[in-house]
């Protein structure tokens, strides 16, 4: 933000334009008893260097990931981001967080959106993807709204452990539509299929599954799909895009809507945002899909061009009858994901996913050999797993954080999800880092 000076002359000019004689007169409507009587008690001004030094000192109180070993996950992951991502997205032609308004003037931006949509379709096996949404949680909530609108039903069934933060967003978004959200049991760390059969009925608008689920476990998506479609409900799959380097794309097992958090695709953790909401559908839902959509066309000279398309779905034309009130996208984050996917390619993504899989299994094995520690669930998992600990998880977190190790998420803070430590391992974690973590846990247990 630029520096805007406020000189005595400026003040006089503004007061004159407003038609008052003093600043006191301007604020005379504010009751005297709630006004500050004396001057603000501020320290003396500092030089530029002194200010920088002070801010630097404050910022160093943060434990950042250049100086800590991170096993945090639960929807946001410490994956490697190639330098080219930031170099490309910070080019001035691209550098805006916003969706294009005078859209067709920004051909380069529209093309990048088109490329992003194409890549998301290939990654997920779906027919059409939008230009992105705010984050994984809001994308899931929009998918639920779409399902309620499409099926004219009110019940939403959550199959297995889905990210509790996403479910909070779903509840907020669907509250005015009076949606009834039913959760299945997941005692074994995955959806209880028998319980799901009881809960899905002909009043079910959609079934939501997260693959891998919130605990990192792999769900039986084939069986969940069968039960969902038996009752004419829509099948929503929330994905981790990195996992699709190895797992079957949801489009191939009958997903009607795929959503996900795009942060693992080249977007920094940065205190929780801005992130990227992935949203893709099968063709029969394309006119119900929220958000912007870039399409390819030819201009009157026969040259290739890009344009926002199917805009009649959108709120600015369809008004109160639109599926969604979203007419925007997460422009810069979407571009970062596009650059990341282009750099990685099919093979690179597969390698990243394979490393996550192998390393997380190495660490799980090592931790379960420590006395008192064991894996909570006996399920196949991708890059995250839950561990039962002999000491309170909060104590482990405090002790290890002091040694600059972030051991994971205490799942007891989410009501209904049980106890345990949720540990995520990305391709960035080295054997040495994992062994340090294991040694520290041993010390605590001993």
């Amino acid at each position: 933000m630029g520096f805007v000076p406020n000189t005595e002359e400026d003040k006089k000019e503004m007061l004159k334009a407003i038609g008052v004689s003093s600043f006191e007169e301007l604020i005379s409507d504010i009751p005297a008893e709630i006004r500050l009587k004396e001057e603000l008690n501020l320290p003396e001004p500092l030089s530029e260097y002194e200010v920088l030094k002070e801010l630097q000192d404050i910022s160093e109180k943060n434990l950042d990931l250049n100086h800590a070993i991170c096993f945090l996950g639960g929807g946001a992951y410490d994956h490697f981001i190639p330098s080219a991502v930031f170099t490309i997205i910070s080019r001035s032609e691209f550098y805006t967080a916003y969706t294009p308004y005078q859209a067709e003037v920004s051909q380069g931006t529209l093309q990048s959106i088109y490329e992003y949509q194409t890549m998301i379709c290939r990654l997920t096996g779906m027919d059409a993807a939008n230009a992105s949404m705010y984050d994984g949680g809001s994308a899931l909530a929009e998918a639920v709204l779409l399902s309620i609108g499409y099926t004219e039903r009110k019940e939403v069934v959550v199959a297995g452990p889905v990210n509790p933060n996403y479910l909070k967003v779903v509840k907020t978004y669907t509250h005015p539509r009076k949606a009834q959200i039913k959760l299945t049991k997941f005692d074994a760390g995955v959806c209880d299929i028998e319980d799901l059969k009881q809960k899905v009925t002909d009043n079910t608008a959609c079934v939501i599954v997260q693959q891998p689920n919130f605990f990192g476990n792999i769900e039986d998506v084939f069986e969940i799909e069968r039960i969902t479609h038996l009752h004419g409900a829509l099948f929503i799959v929330a994905i981790d895009p990195i996992s699709l380097g190895l797992l079957v794309p949801p489009g191939e097992y009958g997903a009607d809507i795929v959503v996900g958090e795009g942060q693992p695709l080249g977007i920094p953790l940065s205190f929780g945002g801005p992130y990227l909401g992935i949203f893709a559908v099968k063709e029969f839902l394309i006119r119900k899909m929220p958000g912007r959509l870039s399409g390819i066309t030819i201009d009157r000279n026969g040259e290739r061009g890009f344009t926002l398309t199917l805009q009649t779905r959108e709120q600015h034309i369809r008004r109160e009858k639109a599926t969604s009130n979203i007419c925007t996208n997460q422009g810069l984050m979407m571009l970062a994901a596009t650059v990341y996917m282009a750099l990685m390619g099919k093979q690179g993504l597969k390698e990243v996913a394979t490393l996550c899989l192998q390393k997380s299994h190495y660490l799980a094995e090592k931790i379960s050999q420590i006395d008192g520690f064991k894996l909570k669930y006996k399920q196949p998992f991708f890059k995250e797993f839950v561990v039962e600990t002999p000491l309170p998880v909060s104590l482990i977190k405090d002790k290890l954080q002091a040694k600059k190790i972030l051991p994971g998420i205490d799942i007891s803070k989410f009501a209904g999800y049980g106890d345990g430590l949720l540990i995520a391992v990305t391709e960035k974690r080295t054997k040495k880092e994992m062994d340090i973590f294991v040694d520290e846990l041993k010390n605590l247990a001993g």
């Binding site: 006119r287 009649t312 779905r313 034309i317 369809r318 009858k321």
Partner: protein
């Protein structure tokens, strides 16, 4: 621009043709299709859906706008024009014939009295 005498019209620019005193064939008028321009998509109701007079039963989408379709009469949808899924432009080409949209089993013939004659409809649109 044609407005056949044997049809009844709504203020929302739909027409209905009554067959055998029981079936209503529904479409949009020549005027409506020409105002909308190139029609690219029609969202059709499910067969068996109950519709009420002058309530929406579907939507019609042109390049720059999308509008609701209002049912001229109450009843049950017994047939939809499947050809519109691939050729929505039939509505532009032949709004009273090949471009029909749905057929309904009429539940109350007296509702016809609430609709406009060809003459009244022409007055409404200033033709």
């Amino acid at each position: 621009m044609q407005f056949p005498e044997n049809l009844r019209y709504t203020k929302e620019h739909e027409w209905v043709r009554v067959e055998n005193d029981s079936i209503g064939v529904v479409g949009i008028t020549d005027y409506a299709q020409s105002e909308l321009g190139d029609i690219v998509y029609v969202e059709l109701p499910q067969i068996g859906k109950q519709v009420k007079q002058l309530e929406p039963f579907g939507t019609i989408e042109a390049v720059k706008a999308v509008s609701d379709l209002f049912s001229p009469l109450s009843g049950e949808v017994i047939e939809v024009n499947e050809k519109l899924k691939d050729s929505p432009d039939l509505i532009n080409k032949d709004p009273y014939g090949e471009g029909w949209i749905i057929k309904i089993k009429i539940s109350d013939l007296s509702e016809l009295d609430n609709l406009l004659s060809a003459e009244d409809y022409k007055k409404l649109i200033g033709k």
